[in-house]
Symmetry: C2
């Protein structure tokens, strides 16, 4: 599908009614192909998306459509394969293709997409309903178990895919399928005039995106009704209770991040999307409180969310164990997407700070250097002797999962990543993610040259003139622009003229960070950060005979930075501390404590761990 | 059922072929009725067992039998109620009654038991099979899903109940039902000559107990075959994998405590029982290694086992979060039962030390002062703001649970508790649990007067002469007998003459204990112990405006003991430390740390927590 002429398509979540910030059109931000994120985008298009397609074939996810589309008089042959929400893994892959076509102009998937559109058209019911689990498994009835069957979640991902494909390639065929699904959702009610809500939020943000793409007010109204209906315990509570699906309190009253973390964060993104379009301040106020709970009391330093394996859920405030961090990849992606919407709604830099934290740590760690293996859960610690046979917390990235929500979620995010970097209106540009690339708006285009996040020097060259705002991260105390000190945690706003070169310097010294006393699980420990990157110590970097658990950092010792090439991580840190002998007893009466012998050891970016085989790792280091 | 004449019945797990130690007959140990455990036994008989009966009626567990016993030609009416293993809650209650009748001679349950025997006789199939779930739910087939249906687990609890009732009351009717079930199990195979094993071990120890009670060798052989068969992946791996049921490695090779902790510990008790009867040293060696893994790397300081909520399982070594401690009540009970068997097998004091730790902490904490409310999970920390709606980790004890395994398990343990206190042969007595009571063997009877575990003074008076061994706990460094220093962690063995009075003095100063460095979750913290009791700080004891999370203990400050009467806890400790202001940010660059102001605060025994309403609590206290 070669693009014959240029057209202006929107990126992710561009409001029809911009509040503070206006996203750039999809092609107005281009990440430099040699930058770390630019390379990831290429890897995503060349490796991850094709890997998803292969696995969707291999696991029968596509066959679920084929068996319905090709069903004869006696109904479909063979059995439905995979979990009941399997369709959505396919939809997210299609969404990734939509963004990737928009980004790179590839036509590699044109025949595949056409085939698939055919299967979906044949599978979709007269009234727009489409779900290969409910349609393809005997005894299933539509919306008999909305707590469980993910039917609207699935509809949402189909709509998102249709929107992305329309934006990326002007494809009308999927958009029609998506609209028919959405039209069905618009009319759907529980027989008492209430909308049916789904155990897994997602359709909210999808409906708003479709409203943005089509201008059809009904879709926004349907999203508003989803938000208003949730929290009235209309869903069966199930094994984990109503709060698992955030159905225990109305959205405007539920100000503690709770329950299944991906559901909570998708819901928050949807509620913020509704605010962005209808301006309902009660929603924004609730979302600001919810943000403070999630990011102020329940977030891992890597930008991970969700500390419980049992129900993939948020824990109590400050319950943030590094070893049992669930920190699902999808939760960090959802947090990033919510952060973008809050940023658009308020223009406040701290939202972009958190997007950056998640992107370079929790999200980046999920994917191997091959682009073909993934973590579902992203712990901040793996012990020597970890039992890695559990699929939720393997010792290494796996190529695919029985519940394969994460890999295609990464694919769709990375393919659209440039859309989250900058905003702008005529003559004014705002740079949020400080990455090498070109960012353009009417009358002003800037090229950013930098090795950020590995280096703190940014050279920004203007073509055209206007107002330029650059986010100075909160950690970047002492940042300067051409020698003048800047305020960290705010946007540096300046006028830039055609041909002018602006040099921004962010301090990239390694810093030691500790957690609130109430985060019991990391008491007496520090995390080592450099710029936006969280570092970790991996067994692979330790001398023989020393295990990660023996290390204690000397917080007063200097930390040196080493750059490496062609290696698993472009930057490493050299730390100093002691190695303590392992203890003979689980519990000992005070005092009795060995001091240990001196050692220097290496830390690598957390996002690069587990690329050299399985082994122990830790982010939080005990202080000597 | 009044006992017409005296008879000699065995207590729990008395080997036919004693290895090192020989349990006393059931009635040869009597806990003093005013002692803490004696009072608990009375409360158990008066409150807990009747409470179980009420709830078994209310939840339909007994009705499951009634509907099958009274089924007409068209099959049973109404629906099966409760989880598929509901029968076992009833069996454990009957077991508790058996022990309690043996202990107190009560005849309060005679008609109820006769009714129930009638129902069970009617329900039991011709061939001995009995399971109201499989027999009572349409479409269920025997042993179609042994990974899941708990059919042998259920058979085991029925057998255990029959044995206890026979020991306690010479009841033959239940024993016949139990034997018919066991005879069925003896013949059961998978069609290829292999025994079928169950997803939940329990039948192993039950079969050995029935062998002990009847002398029927087939039952021991069936238990041996269960042990030999496990670990060959004959069970469907299911959601949590083969290791969840310890089916991943043969019992003699599986030396890491792993998977569902209650299953692991019941299995270990069963394997040790088999060793006790057949003397197979390969089993004992494996159990010793498994013990070191469980008690040396995976046990909470309260004697709790299992750190994961997801699958009620052991975590990795040293993964012992206090807040998400699962520490199921049943796991501590199982650990206690396994410890008894290892003690009998080896005579080593450390096994009794661990029984004591579990009994006075993990197990004792499970039950409220009313005897009618219970914890299923026994965390070592509850945060301010804990979301307590989750049934596995409520903020307060609940009267009953959907999965109600714990309350009747407590009932059966406490009713038989005196059976675990001492062992002996003619002219020789060994005291393991140092509690007020009378312990008798041929030719020697001793009465122990003490307030232990609240006080360290023991006065032991002999009637008759012989050899007396008294366990000196490992923590009791500096213990003396009539002024002579004793070796902690060993048995003090002495000759005692008729009328002689032996005074043993155990040091009861509060001590601070820290965990192995690798227990990351409690780094920088200490636990306060006094004697065998672990203490905790509860919100209820703090001044207004101070929350538990603000406390930091001064480890150098003296600790004073206060005794109280008619209160929630007979002993309290006064500690000194600082209160730190709550921090404004989740993550902070070093240094920046508030020092706090001085405070004295109270700690109570962990086993007494949550008897004054819900509220924050912690065992591990950060050190100033």
């Amino acid at each position: 599908m070669t693009l014959e002429t240029e057209f202006v398509a929107q990126g992710p979540a561009a409001p029809r009614r911009p509040a503070h910030l206006t996203p750039l059109p999809l092609r107005s931000a281009v990440l430099h192909p040699e930058s770390s994120l630019g390379r990831w985008q290429d890897l995503n298009g060349a490796a991850t998306i094709p890997h998803c397609v292969e696995n969707l074939e291999a696991t029968g996810t596509i066959a679920n459509f084929r068996r319905l589309a090709e069903a004869g008089e006696n109904g479909p042959e063979g059995a439905f394969a995979g979990p009941w929400f399997a369709d959505t893994d396919l939809y997210k892959t299609i969404e990734a293709m939509g963004w990737e076509i928009g980004r790179s102009g590839t036509d590699a998937w044109t025949p595949w997409l056409a085939d698939l559109a055919g299967l979906m058209e044949k599978t979709q019911a007269e009234d727009g309903y489409l779900n290969t689990y409910v349609q393809g498994v005997e005894g299933q009835e539509r919306f008999a178990h909305p707590d469980f069957t993910h039917e609207l979640y699935s509809a949402g991902h189909l709509i998102q895919a249709a929107v992305a494909l329309h934006r990326g390639s002007r494809d009308e065929r999927f958009l029609q399928i998506g609209r028919r699904v959405a039209d069905f959702v618009v009319k759907l009610d529980d027989g008492k005039g209430n909308p049916i809500i789904d155990g897994h939020p997602e359709v909210e943000t999808a409906l708003v995106e479709l409203y943005r793409e089509t201008g059809e007010q009904d879709y926004l109204t349907a999203a508003e009704r989803q938000i208003d209906r949730r929290g009235h315990r209309s869903l069966e509570p199930g094994r984990f209770g109503s709060l698992y699906y955030q159905d225990h309190l109305p959205v405007r009253e539920n100000t503690e991040a709770i329950g299944h973390s991906v559901r909570q964060l998708y819901l928050a993104a949807g509620a913020t999307d509704v605010y962005l379009e209808n301006g309902d301040e009660t929603l924004l106020r609730a979302m600001e409180k919810l943000w403070r709970s999630a990011f102020g009391t329940k977030m891992y330093i890597t930008g991970g969310h969700g500390s419980r394996h049992r129900d993939e859920a948020y824990g109590d405030p400050f319950e943030l164990p590094p070893d049992r961090a669930y920190a699902e990849t999808c939760a960090s992606i959802a947090a990033f997407q919510w952060g973008w919407r809050m940023l658009l709604a308020t223009g406040q830099a701290h939202y972009a700070d958190e997007m950056e934290r998640a992107l370079f740590n929790g999200i980046a760690a999920s994917t191997s250097h091959t682009g073909k293996a993934f973590f579902y859960s992203n712990p901040l610690q793996l012990r020597t002797g970890h039992e890695g046979s559990d699929e939720d917390s393997p010792s290494e990235r796996l190529p695919w999962y029985g519940c394969a929500c994460c890999p295609p979620n990464i694919a769709r995010l990375i393919a659209s990543l440039q859309g989250y970097t900058a905003t702008g209106t005529a003559g004014a540009l705002q740079l949020h993610l400080l990455h090498a690339g070109t960012y353009s708006t009417d009358g002003l285009s800037v090229t950013v040259e930098t090795q950020y996040p590995y280096d703190g020097e940014l050279v920004i060259r203007a073509s055209g003139s206007g107002e330029l705002s650059v986010r100075i991260p909160a950690w970047a105390v002492g940042a300067t622009a051409s020698g003048v000190e800047l305020v960290a945690g705010e946007y540096f706003k300046t006028r830039i003229e055609d041909g002018e070169e602006l040099r921004i310097s962010l301090p990239m010294n390694a810093t030691l960070v500790r957690a609130d006393d109430r985060v019991d699980a990391v008491r007496g420990c520090v995390a080592v950060l450099r710029g936006p990157l969280v570092f970790c110590v991996e067994q692979a970097d330790l001398p023989e005979g020393v295990v990660v658990e023996q290390l204690h950092l000397d917080p007063a010792a200097p930390i040196t930075t080493e750059t490496t090439e062609g290696d698993v991580a472009p930057v490493r840190l050299r730390l100093t501390g002691v190695v303590r002998a392992l203890e003979p007893a689980l519990y000992t009466t005070l005092p009795a404590r060995t001091e240990g012998s001196a050692i220097e050891f290496t830390a690598i970016p957390y996002n690069a761990w587990a690329n050299r085989g399985p082994g122990a790792m830790r982010v939080w280091l005990p202080v000597r």
